[in-house]
Amino acid sequence: MLKVKELNIIFQDRGKPETAVKQLSFDMREGERIGIVGESGSGKTMTALAIAGLLMRKDVKKQGEILWEGKNILSFHNKELCQYRGKEMGMIFQEPMTSLNPVKKIGWQMEESLRIHEKFTKKERYERAIAQLMEVGLLDAKKVYHQYPHELSGGMRQRVMIGAALICNPKLMIADEPTTALDVTVQDQILQLLKKRNKEKKTGILFISHDLELVQKLCERVIVMHKGMIVEKGLAREVFTSPSHEYTKKLIASIPKVERRKGDSKLG
């Protein structure tokens, strides 16, 4: 489904070029859950943006290929990009507080992808939006539909974002640290939500986080990034129980003890 081949991302805007991502390659099959972990500044977000086709600025140089069903996203035209985004791929990111338009009702924002990609009637859109809000756990959907973002909590907004990103049934969902701004219980709920979606509709999930624990809860395979490069990749279980790279070991060691045991027991 998705094949990233020797991707380099080079910033050229400030005098000397700066490489944010180096020789990154990985494959993703339909319905897979892949996690990308790494410390701050390791290039996770840049990778995600490139895959989402959002890194189209001229001053950012991209080398290599990102193949979506065999076609290179990096050479997509604007039209093709708009077709791809929202319909084939959905993405959410860290800031649920600001990712929703403050002056638009939740319902309108939920329906936006449908208006762009589908030829639905108003009523069909409404029904889809309500169903989708229910699916992401906003059970009071009819009320939420008519609310504005500032009336919702962070967790609810992130649910709305997930719902809006998934409403056209994309094959891939990119989640860039979707839970960092949320408290722990809400974090778990969001993870459950993504997992459920993956199980039920075979939506592939590319989950990005600096939190190893979350990644091992959700993902089957994991990619560890450091300074723009992949230092280790493999099955989540194997990487966590027997890390081969120094950097991964350090990352694992930095998880607080209690949490680690909890995670271990889940694996065993």
Binding site: A52, L54, N78, C82, Q83, Y84, R85, G86, K87, G90, M91, F93, E95, T98, S99, L100, N101, P102, V103, K104, Q109, E112, S113, I116, H117, M161, A164, A165
Partner: protein, 265 residues
């Protein structure tokens, strides 16, 4: 502070609503034909029959003020539609896309904005001739750069917002983003620009009609009336006083309204 803004907004709004009601009422009831001359009533003072008096041709000043305010509103309204509409569109495109489009359009904008507003309107009028319609065109053109600048700033501010990124990720194209996603967020700021623009349009129309290049006789406009009244400033002060009052109230109303809107944004 907030309360003050609110009070300013309410006061401005009420002044304008009252004026607007007067203008509206004139469509149903106008005491006299505003252009009807009457030799017997030349310079008539304030009375029950003509409660703002009559002018040098014996025309009823109250009726002429209603007619004139109508014209002034009309000119201001269409000026804003033209100037605000085109200006916002230009600003939206340059602000959102940036790059060479921005470079070219904003240079052009600066060139136009370099001339004082009123002077530029005079130049345009001298090219296309006087008259109500031409005043609207001239002022509309003159107002474009101001609106463009404000709109550009707003779109520049908004284009890197997360919700714009979300919209892109849903597959929205640039024009969809500009119109449906960013524009609603710029309305508060644009609205306060509109009130200021209205004000300037009222003053500019009055000024141009005063100079005799705006609304042409015998039609009434507030500026024209002031211009005609100045010869009789001492003999018949009511002639200049009432239209002058209305201009002051209009300007005050829009200023207060704009003031109240400004910080709310």
């Amino acid at each position: 502070m907030r309360k003050e803004k609110k009070r300013s907004f309410l006061l401005g709004a009420s002044i304008l609503i009252v004026l607007f009601c007067f203008v509206l009422s004139s469509f149903f009831y106008m005491p006299y034909d505003p252009n009807q001359m009457d030799n017997a009533n030349k310079f008539a003072g304030v009375s029950f029959a003509h409660w703002m008096g009559c002018d040098n041709f014996g025309r009823d000043i109250y009726s002429r003020i209603l007619q004139g305010t109508r014209t002034t509103f009309l000119v201001a309204f269409f000026t804003i539609i033209i100037g605000g509409g085109i200006g916002t569109a230009v600003g939206a495109i340059t602000g959102y896309f940036g790059g060479w489009i921005d470079e070219i359009l904003m240079r052009l904008n600066d060139a136009v904005a370099a001339f004082p507003n009123f002077l530029l309107a005079l130049v345009v009028i001298s090219l296309i001739g006087p008259g109500t319609f031409n005043v609207i065109m001239a002022l509309g053109i003159v107002f474009i750069p101001g609106f463009a600048r404000i709109a550009r700033g707003e779109f520049l501010r908004c284009r890197n917002m997360d919700y714009v990124k979300s919209a892109k990720l849903m597959g929205a194209g640039p024009f969809r983003i500009i119109i449906f996603h960013i524009f609603p967020n710029t309305i508060p700021v644009l609205l306060s620009a509109v009130t200021i623009g209205f004000n300037n349009a009222v003053i500019a129309e009055a000024g141009m009609s005063f100079l005799g290049i705006g609304v042409q006789p015998p039609d009434a406009s507030l500026g024209r009336m002031l211009s005609e009244a100045q010869a009789y400033l001492f003999s018949t002060p009511s002639y200049a006083f009432f239209p002058g009052m209305v201009v002051v109230l209009l300007v005050l109303g829009f200023s207060l309204l704009g003031n109240g809107l400004e910080r709310k944004a």
